[in-house]
């Protein structure tokens, strides 16, 4: 896995130290999690999913260390950027899910070594489930991007259908289950060495 940007690493370690100290549930998701699981694509931001009960403490901690925390969609989405950065794509997205697949992913996170540090990573089945939940009617651009990621993950044999199905059944998302079925039915020629269809 390509090393993370040094400024973001520093910011991530600041968060990790605090979150571990208060025994919070948290996990890295998004493109960084996909990279840790074996599919790397270009990204500048890191998605940090954090249990909602740690929100205030984390934001206060970052603020006390001189890190600007900006709200995007409170109380679910804030951002923290390395100080003095002129690249607004370089950031930690701080995501505080209350329910749903993101929360399940937090609880199921497992530690992986990233740049020499043991960090909790959202399981790939939760990353996949989240992408399958993207709504093609209301959110067509994100859907197109997520569909591309899903095809890449599938091509690398990183989608284990029964695990993804369990996650989506837990949140009773029939539309996403239907999309999983469609994803697995397409392009039978794509090599899927670890794919286990039920």
């Amino acid at each position: 896995m390509t090393p993370l940007d040094k400024d973001l690493q520093k910011l991530l370690r600041l968060c990790a130290k605090k979150l571990d100290a208060i025994d919070a549930e948290w996990a890295i998701g998004g493109a960084t999690a996909m990279a840790a699981h074996g599919y790397e694509r270009q990204t500048k931001d890191i998605d940090l999913f954090v249990a909602d009960d740690a929100r205030e403490e984390l934001i206060e901690h970052l603020t006390s260390k001189g890190v600007a925390v900006t709200h995007i969609m409170p109380p679910a989405h804030y951002i923290a950027r390395p100080p003095k950065t002129k690249d607004l794509d370089k950031r930690l997205d701080l995501l505080f899910p209350a329910l749903g697949v993101e929360s399940l992913g937090l609880m199921a996170a497992r530690r992986h070594t990233i740049d020499g540090h043991e960090l909790p990573i959202m399981p790939i089945e939760h990353v996949v489930a989240l992408k399958l939940q993207t709504d093609p009617i209301f959110d067509r651009d994100r859907y197109a991007k997520d569909a591309q990621d899903l095809q890449e993950l599938r091509a690398r044999g990183l989608i284990e259908p029964h695990r993804v199905r369990v996650v989506l059944e837990d949140v009773s998302d029939q539309a996403a289950l239907d999309r999983l079925h469609s994803l697995l039915s397409l392009d039978h020629d794509i090599p899927t060495p670890r794919l286990r269809l039920r």
Partner: protein
């Protein structure tokens, strides 16, 4: 005692918000937004307000003896509340510079913020909604000196290159999610903001957006707009009903900004208070 209770207590005792803002070196109207929970103050400001409420005369007198602070680093959270004159000028400048960048490029755009309908002289960052077909707006803004960060195809964050983090604003390119996706379907009225006549998303659409999204302060801000007769609840009701025909969704991202059940519940509470 919480921050709002502290402000209410001071107002009851005859202290004006303007005088408190001057004493605390805050931007004009900032405390009004704190009072109506349109913004969340820092712990430091909240604590100071509680101390003032407990003993206004002594604490306000003590504040007059505090030396002007050395300018803080721009990434400091506290600097977002205690604005320097330069920062206030920068906030004024943003609206003018955005308009100057977009209008000549034939970009369809409108400024968008609940604060604009509560206080047109607001110093809070003001978002911009841009027609989805006018993506060349990004080039115009970058040429005009704005830095822009990408979140999704529908959302960017921007600020002037030399401005502090807390002047960052959102650029929305609404495509499919109402009510912002409907903004350009009808003519947009211009409004005077910081001395410039610019197109502004109307109060009803802004209130609908608030009702539908999961911001915790949304209901209170809409209540305030209703109290000021800036929006009409029956109109909100009709506009919300129009969305019933749209399909349901379980997408976390969509539900953050388009939760119809939540909007209905909030509107019911607002009607009950009338």
């Amino acid at each position: 005692m919480n921050t709002v209770a502290a402000i209410e207590s001071l107002v009851r005792r005859g202290y004006t918000l303007a005088s408190l803002e001057r004493a605390l070196h805050l931007s004009p109207n900032y405390l009004s937004k704190v009072r109506h929970e349109a913004v969340r103050p820092s712990f430091q400001l909240a604590a100071l307000l509680v101390l003032i409420a407990k003993d206004p005369q002594s604490v306000l007198a003590a504040l007059t003896t505090v030396d002007e602070p050395t300018p803080r680093p721009q990434n400091s959270r506290a600097s977002s509340l205690i604005k320097t004159d330069d920062q206030n000028r920068a906030a004024d400048n943003v609206v003018e510079r955005v308009a100057a960048a977009l209008a000549p490029a034939a970009v369809r755009f409108a400024f968008f913020s609940p604060a604009l309908h509560l206080d047109p002289s607001t110093k809070e960052p003001i978002d911009v909604v841009i027609h989805d077909a006018d993506r060349h707006a990004m080039t115009s803004l970058k040429d005009a000196g704005f830095l822009c960060g990408h979140f999704s195809s529908a959302l960017f964050r921007c600020r002037l290159a030399d401005a502090p983090d807390d002047t960052e604003f959102s650029l929305h390119f609404p495509t499919t999610i109402p009510p912002l996706s409907q903004v350009f379907e009808t003519p947009i009225e211009p409004q005077l903001i910081n001395g410039v006549m610019v197109p502004v998303v109307d109060a009803t659409t802004t209130a609908l957006w608030l009702l539908l999204n999961r911001r915790p302060d949304a209901q209170q801000v809409v209540q305030h707009l209703v109290d000021r007769a800036s929006v009409d609840v029956d109109t909100l009701d009709v506009r919300l009903s129009e969305f019933d025909a749209l399909p349901q969704t379980q997408s976390t991202y969509v539900l953050q900004v388009f939760d119809r059940a939540l909007a209905r519940e909030r509107l019911r509470h607002i009607k009950e208070r009338m």
